[in-house]
């Protein structure tokens, strides 16, 4: 049985971490929230959730960026993008 665990990793870990950084996170190796948001978002969200990570990182902190990240990838489980 083949199950796409990597896709699940990106959907949960990558997108979740990008969301946290977009809200003003500290990042794995940095205590400065702005630097971390710019630098680590892309890494956390690399791969399928990469654009989400990049969005969160380059856009800096902010609830609107976070919402974009979440909306973009919420439909991953069913393959159908959807809005909350």
């Amino acid at each position: 049985m083949k199950v796409d665990r990597r896709g699940l990793f990106r959907a949960i870990v990558g997108t979740g971490a990008a969301f946290g950084l977009a809200l003003g996170g500290c990042g794995a190796n940095n205590n400065d929230s702005n630097d971390a948001a710019a630098g680590s978002g892309g890494t956390s969200g690399s791969g399928g959730a990469g654009s989400g990570g990049a969005n969160a990182g380059s856009g800096g902190a902010g609830a609107q960026d976070a919402k974009v990240v979440m909306d973009t990838f919420r439909g991953w489980a069913t393959g159908v993008p959807c809005k909350a």
Partner: protein, 272 residues
Amino acid sequence: MPTLLGDKTSGSLDPSKPSRITRWGGSLTKRPLPEHDETIALLSDEDRRGLCGFWLSRSSGERRVSDSMAVIRDALEKLGEPAPLVDLAERAIDDELRHAQLWHLGAQRFSLDGQGTPAYWPPFVPHYDAPDEVRYRLFVIAECVFNETTASTFLQTCLRLARGPLAVGVLREILSDEIDHGRIGWAFLARLSRPHRDEIQPWLLPMLRAHWNEWTRALHDVPDSYAAHGIPSRADTSEAIVASLREVIVPGLKDQGFATGPIDAWLDDSDR
């Protein structure tokens, strides 16, 4: 070395406050569930009774997780986390109640007489011997980083194997919500400062052991016919639990700057 004192209901956090945010405008599902599932009628009476029992127990479990999500919402609020993150936990309280309803409705379809009531499982909050702020962080990590991530991996396996239209519809609805719930935990971890990560680090292995024990305690031998209706075999369930740790949770912890050497060693130990 941190100490887990066993599981008991916490007196300091209230799991009873209802959610003020709902998904899908208060509807039970995003898409309508199939009105008829002809594959159910093809099952033996014994299989229908057995599947009804499993679906009822999942309903009970989801109801209890709703209480856990109220604890998570309160913990995030007490820690001063931003509103979008708290709101996700707030909505998760209602999500889990919807899930309980979905499993319950499904159980009644499998039931031979259209009846069946899930047992009430009381709230279940782990007690960590640590200062309040650390305990609140551990609650979020245990529930969202560990439990909801493993739930997503498990439901992914269930959905992959499901063939019955009812099971596929229910599993899709629930999996997409659980992914959101796992994200709460990973968002929370990404926001932690280095000193707070250092506080959490020694707790990770004991918490993962408890997590492992809880999930593997629920392993059951089931007839092959159950997988088509959302209840995978012991082997497939076990594979999903291991995969959640090896392929999702541990790599995620590494990405977040946690040391995972002891966890890797424990995972490699066949006697775990």
